[in-house]
């Protein structure tokens, strides 16, 4: 039996009916390989069923469970308690919701609103290149694919957008900008001018001030800032 110990979670609460916010502390006994989502569930099960938090796949593939732990935006399903204790060197954790959208309740934010920005990147192929013959697929070499495949792993968890030092109001955001850049690099897309117009919008890539916080926090370990740098370079 792995030894168990107690951690304290200090969590931002928000009640949409009274519009009151407060910080509530929970002490939880943990042990073994527990993720933060398991701890939140344990709090619901044993202490407080009203504490609201979001998740879906719970294994870092969908990006639904983003929260800020001791200042760092991350996925609650990916952070193991034992790793958190080591990384943050503490048994007390401040949990806050992501800052990219209005808080609905406690740790749940309205990411549906944040997604409206993602839609502005037009993530599909706007104007396809001439179709290959005979019902074939387009040919894309492994080398060519390598140049942008990393960026396609983005799950729009909004951790990078939360960490970004530029304002949410003035900047489309690192994930949104990167989604546009992926298609600029995709040989199947020929609407280059339209995409460059999106890239260099008032709230586009020049709002990035190269803090590289995005790359630092990305749960998929995508070097987001690399792609934004390519965007500023503009060689498309």
């Amino acid at each position: 039996m792995s030894k168990s110990y107690t951690i304290t979670l200090e969590i931002n609460r928000y009640d949409p009916d009274t519009q009151l916010s407060w910080i509530q502390a929970y002490q939880v006994e943990v042990g073994g390989i527990l993720r933060f989502v398991d701890v939140l569930r344990k709090i619901n099960d044993e202490q407080d069923p009203t504490l609201a938090w979001a998740s879906s796949c719970e294994h870092a593939q969908c990006g639904s469970c983003g929260i800020i732990v001791n200042g760092k935006p991350l996925l609650a399903c990916e952070l193991l308690v034992k790793d958190a204790v080591e990384q943050f060197d503490t048994y007390t954790f401040r949990l806050r919701p992501l800052t990219v959208a209005p808080v609905l309740r406690d740790l749940v934010v309205d990411l549906e609103k944040a997604y409206e920005k993602v839609h502005k990147a037009l993530p599909y192929i706007i104007k396809p290149a001439p179709l290959p013959p005979e019902g074939d697929e387009y040919r894309i070499s492994q080398e060519r694919l390598e140049t942008y495949i990393e960026a396609t792993q983005c799950i729009n968890c909004f951790c990078c957008a939360t960490a970004c030092i530029s304002s949410h109001r003035n900047f489309l955001g690192p994930n949104v900008t990167m989604a546009n850049i992926v298609r600029l690099m995709d040989p199947r897309e020929t609407a280059t001018k339209e995409r460059l117009d999106i890239l260099y919008r008032e709230d586009g890539v020049y709002r990035c001030h190269t803090s590289r916080a995005c790359s630092f926090v990305c749960p998929k370990e995508i070097d987001v800032s690399h792609f934004l740098a390519l965007g500023k370079e503009g060689k498309f």
């Binding site: 044993e46 609201a52 796949c57 294994h59 593939q61 309205d110 706007i126 694919l145």
Partner: protein, 600 residues
């Protein structure tokens, strides 16, 4: 609170898609590409369709390339028929296997980032149960995007839906279907953020709500996969089909049961017991670790039962090993690096140097809302329900019968999704606008919500949930017996009575997680009852459904199970014949499409 629940507003559209995952949005994309003026509303429980559970599918999607010198669609059809243990519908098998490649190319041309060969073409990999020459040797049939094929598909159909202006409503559940006579005219939905009910009137409704295996303790499914679409059908008096067929994926990571794709075995991974013996050589001499999932799951549980499993203290559970240590460096670093990261992160092992702990995990529902080969929903007399369609995991056309091969589900999303979309286009040509909201619209939903909001008692949600999940795992799991199934049915009746006595944490309707989860738990109990009843009634073993008291397949059960349950535990059984059109056509190798023996 005492406030009466009401419908806040009514929306209208041409097509309502309940569940905006791979299948639902493939259907929506088909409709909007062909008829861009169609008004489509797609609903999802999560914040964006991009976050549907489709996105977590890993391994690949099977499709025979007509240019492949060795592979042929008829081999794929045979593999699917045999894989289903002779219970899938052959007309559906034929349609899906013959149009698979076309749909793969559709995805690629619409921007999916498939992994490529050296020539820049779509790459292929082997997968369990997919063979050449009717079972002779493994085939390279699965197309993939690294180990995130599901994400690739989901992003592509979501992109296309965005391009054509499909409206999304996220963070909602459909709580009841609406009917005008026997025609489905839409649904009532409940929005999580505002806590409001809306009515959506639609000329055509597509149910594509995906899977439901969250009633099992160990499951690969996401938090919201609670079988809501099945309950919509049951509440409307419609039957569901083959629900006893639950697929347990053999390699879930010890603990919560996170999926470790079959692709790991496709790339050469080997299962070993506590003596490090590659035990699949005994159970499936030809296919070994690439035998179909039901066979491997049963083999693993048998190894554990006979004392050759390994016990993990931290999770208080038994498992076997998956050995990846011998795979080439390039495979570790380029082909399977994402799944390996799961082992590192969630099990604390390094797959390059250590053995990985795996255990069967409830993964997929072969059964679902019965449809014909065009995605049209059928009632208990196989009559089409006008205006109602279903596709994807929530439906049963049936492509998989009682057992599904890996990579055939992603294939199903894009083939049957497209076919359903096409059928809806046809239906819309003559479909009339629904006239008005039925006078009793919402009463099922309001009753259910009121019960939970006003419940008295001191039951605990967690206790009922855990009891359900453990009970299903033990008694309605991989190995079933009459005794256990009867016990399960009694326990489920008790749980159903208890769930309405969970005192609600807050009566606010806004973002009320407690209310949402209790509603979902109620659905899980409903669906669990149908699974148990189906398992009890099918006194044979076929595909993923295994009865220790009836371990052989029997020709007496050559049919699909239909179960209607408009009220809890008042089950009515029916049968739907298995389509044998490939056998009956007496074409090439037709005798292989008879009720053949299933050995690997």
């Amino acid at each position: 609170m005492g406030d009466k629940l009401t419908i806040d507003s009514t929306l209208t559209c041409d097509v309502l898609v309940i569940g905006a995952g791979g299948a639902g949005l493939r259907a929506a994309a088909q409709i909007s590409e062909q008829r861009p003026e169609t008004k489509i509303i797609a609903l999802t429980k999560v914040v964006s369709p991009q976050k549907s559970h489709t996105t977590t599918a890993q391994g690949g999607m099977a499709a025979v390339d007509p240019k492949d010198p060795e592979d042929r669609p008829i081999f794929h059809m045979f593999d699917t028929w045999k894989g289903s243990d002779c219970s899938a519908d052959q007309n559906v098998i034929k349609k899906v296997c013959e149009t698979g490649w076309e749909e793969v190319v559709w995805l690629e041309r619409h921007g999916m980032h498939f992994s490529r060969t050296e020539e820049g073409r779509i790459a292929k990999r082997p997968f369990g149960g997919h063979m050449l020459n009717f079972g002779e040797k493994k085939s390279f049939r699965a197309c993939y995007e690294a180990t995130r094929t599901g994400k690739g598909i989901m992003d592509t159909v979501w992109d296309e839906s965005l391009k054509y202006g499909v409206d999304f409503i996220g963070q909602c559940i459909a709580t009841e279907l609406l009917f005008e006579g026997n025609r489905c005219i839409g649904a009532i939905i409940f929005r999580y953020p505002e806590g409001k009910f809306l009515a959506i009137l639609a000329k055509a409704t597509i149910v594509a709500t995906g899977g439901k295996t969250r009633m099992y303790q160990v499951s690969t499914n996401c938090r919201g996969n609670t079988g809501d679409g099945l309950v919509l059908a049951l509440d409307a008096g419609l039957p569901v089909m083959d629900l006893e067929a639950v697929q347990f994926h053999p390699t879930g990571i010890i603990g919560p049961g996170i999926l470790a794709s079959e692709a790991l075995r496709g790339e050469g991974g080997i299962l070993r017991n506590k003596d490090e013996e590659p035990f699949m050589e005994r159970y499936a001499p030809t296919a070994k670790d690439l035998a179909p999932r039901d066979l491997i799951s049963r083999s693993i549980i048998t190894e554990i039962r006979e004392g050759r499993g390994i016990f993990n203290e931290a999770h208080n559970a038994h498992h076997v090993w998956l050995d990846l240590r011998h795979l080439p460096k390039e495979v570790h670093e380029k082909k399977i690096q994402e799944i390996e990261s799961f082992f590192r992160r969630f099990a604390g092992v390094d797959p390059v140097t250590e053995l990985c702990p795996v255990t069967p995990t409830a993964h997929y529902q072969m059964g679902g809302i019965p449809t014909n080969e065009f995605g049209e929903v059928q009632n208990d007399t196989q009559t089409i329900v006008p205006g109602l369609f279903a596709c994807g995991e929530a439906a049963a056309a049936s492509l998989h019968g009682l057992n599904r091969l890996g990579t055939n589900s992603l294939l199903e999303l894009i083939t049957i999704g497209k076919v359903t979309g096409e059928r809806v286009i046809e239906y819309l040509k003559d479909a009339k606008e629904p006239e008005t909201l039925p006078s009793n619209a919402g009463h099922i939903s309001f009753d259910q919500f009121s019960i939970h909001l006003n419940s008295q008692g001191n039951e605990k949600y967690a206790q009922i949930r855990d009891t359900l999940r453990n009970l299903m795992m033990e008694k309605v799991g991989i190995f079933r017996t009459e005794k256990f199934l009867l016990e399960a049915i009694e326990s489920l009746k008790t749980l159903k009575e208890r769930v309405i006595h969970i005192p609600i944490g807050t009566k606010s309707l806004k973002t009320n997680q407690d209310l949402w989860q209790i509603w979902e738990l109620n659905n899980l109990i409903t669906v669990s009852m149908v699974i148990a009843q189906g398992a009890l009634a099918r006194k044979e073993s076929r595909g993923a459904h295994f009865r220790e008291d009836y371990p052989e397949r029997s020709n007496e059960f050559n049919y699909h199970t239909l179960i209607s349950m408009p009220e809890f535990n008042k089950v009515a059984f029916g049968k739907r014949p298995i389509d044998m059109s490939l056998f009956e056509a007496k074409g090439e190798c037709f005798e292989l499409f008879d009720y053949i023996e299933r050995k690997y």
